[in-house]
Symmetry: C2
């Protein structure tokens, strides 16, 4: 048996690869088979992470295992989908048992936390990269898309913003911080928590949604474009963490919240009448602005004055990777 | 708009990305949405191709576009699935418009030939590699797996074997041949035809199936193991093409048929009573051996004598990549 075939057997033996709800046939045949209940649709998303581009070429493989799956799975949360499973296409320059075991442990931990079954994949030799394709189910007609925002809706996010951007200089060892500051930021970067439960709670309520991966302003631009509306983000309403403010100061934290990538927090639009019941039920819904008629994304102050030009410089963050 | 975002728009505008049967939501949101009819299951497979490992680093991007999708889609044929769609995770070192356009044309041509809709993906910067995840539908309980072969069944293949292995020295420019020999072999390598129709015709008839990607003997080993049976391959029954024999001679052609990879031809087991009706209906069913009780794969001559030791040397081809 070749070493890459051994890796396949190794992943196939992971707890997260032993099947789960909706998985009719898992790893080991030409295809996996998923069962989809009548009245449900299958949600699918693919993400690639390349070493040196999307994560440091030298990093903790356990943390990478967690993060690589969470990043992909967050797209399911953004559609309001219930997780089913994922495939892993893993390209490795060579086989290092320690690395693989730690990576698989991190992957497995996140998979079980997300209730995602590993249903298949491919393992090949080449420069380190990971492609995850994730699968979820959602009742027909209730998937949260980017295209339904209407003028008058509230613009909301599901958690504090900018933590991952704050963590990045720590991840890259360009900067240091005391543990009370560094730890929560690094945890957010390496082990994001896809907001599945919030996404499901927003079914039939939010008019649009996505997960923030490219930065709030850039991603709001995607909603504005798909929905053919304007979005106004109110600078002073941006929720930021104490740790982020301690690291970057108030202004720096706001900049990270506006333009930083990798948050994997839901952004969504909501008819005003939906707000109170969701908040009363304990859902983390932070209102950060409004939907208006028009196009594009603008930044406003507490009095509704347009202060967008100040932040034009952020727009280069829209480019990816 | 960044150049990688431009690429995404470019693929999103391809004819194969305009939706199709079963595609409720295509490219452009956090997830694609597929509809699966009641009584059907979704078949899923992922394949990665890395430049310099699975295809020459310098090659015709149009041909690569065709081949990269066909290789992945062949797994759907092997399950007896009807194609629905695919995602493409494309990692590129830089953006070369000519290369991308040719690649996309080849991809689109194969996608339309296979009736596969491009439903999503990711485009990232890094060393050239391609990960395709393909989706098909199959009536519940009728997917062709590797695990149902029974002693007494016939072992069959769906087309001539070894053509891609014969083409490889031509692809790598290690060898030349006259056009009448080279062209059919190169066509088989660069533009394999996944046997979807045959796979669907075998639903409820074949007891096991897969597509030959690692070489006949290695892949028969997968059926033998999954089904807990022995497979006997009769050397003189192996179907090989005139072009392959012209290039490699009779013995060389048989070796290519036994051990060569990349055929993407179906191998399957069939109760004897199923053979005549399938052949009468015009399906390309070539009997190449038998299923017996026991384990492993053996090679036999026309008199049923075990001649396996002669070919032991092939086993190193089982290792991948």
């Amino acid at each position: 048996m070749g070493e890459f075939e051994l890796i396949r057997h190794y992943f196939a033996a992971a707890p997260c690869a032993q099947g789960g709800e909706g998985v009719a046939l898992g790893i080991g045949d030409d295809c996996a088979l998923l069962s989809v209940a009548a009245g449900e649709q299958l949600a699918i998303s693919t993400d690639t992470l390349v070493a040196g581009v999307h994560f440091p070429a030298v990093c903790d493989p356990f943390l990478l295992g967690q993060r690589s799956l969470a990043v992909a799975a967050s797209d399911l949360a953004a559609m309001g989908a219930t997780p089913i499973g994922f495939t892993l296409a893993l390209t490795l320059p060579d086989v290092q048992a320690d690395w693989l075991q730690a990576y698989a442990r991190g992957l497995n931990q996140m998979a079980q936390a997300c209730r995602l079954s590993l249903i298949g994949g491919d393992t090949t030799r080449g420069p380190l990269s990971l492609t995850m394709t994730v699968f979820g189910r959602v009742p027909q007609g209730l998937a949260l898309t980017r295209s339904g925002a209407r003028a008058g809706d509230l613009l909301c996010v599901g958690a504090e913003l900018g933590n991952a951007a704050g963590a990045l200089p720590l991840v890259l060892a360009e900067r240091q911080a005391e543990p009370a500051v560094a730890e929560p930021l690094l945890a957010h970067y390496w082990s994001p928590s896809p907001q599945f439960a919030l996404g499901q709670a927003l079914r039939g309520k939010a008019t649009s949604a996505l997960d923030i991966s490219d930065g709030l302003l850039a991603d709001c631009g995607h909603i504005a474009k798909a929905s053919q509306v304007a979005l106004q983000v109110e600078l002073e309403r941006l929720p930021v963490s104490d740790a982020l403010q301690a690291l970057l100061g108030r202004e720096g934290a706001r900049q990270a919240a506006l333009a930083g990538g990798d948050d994997y927090v839901l952004a969504f639009t909501l008819p005003e009448a939906q707000l109170a019941p969701l908040q009363a039920a304990g859902w983390p819904v932070h209102v950060i602005g409004r939907v208006a008629s028009g196009t594009g994304v603008s930044l406003v102050d507490g009095q509704g004055r347009d202060i967008t030009p100040v932040t034009r410089g952020y727009q280069h963050f829209r480019e990816q990777p």
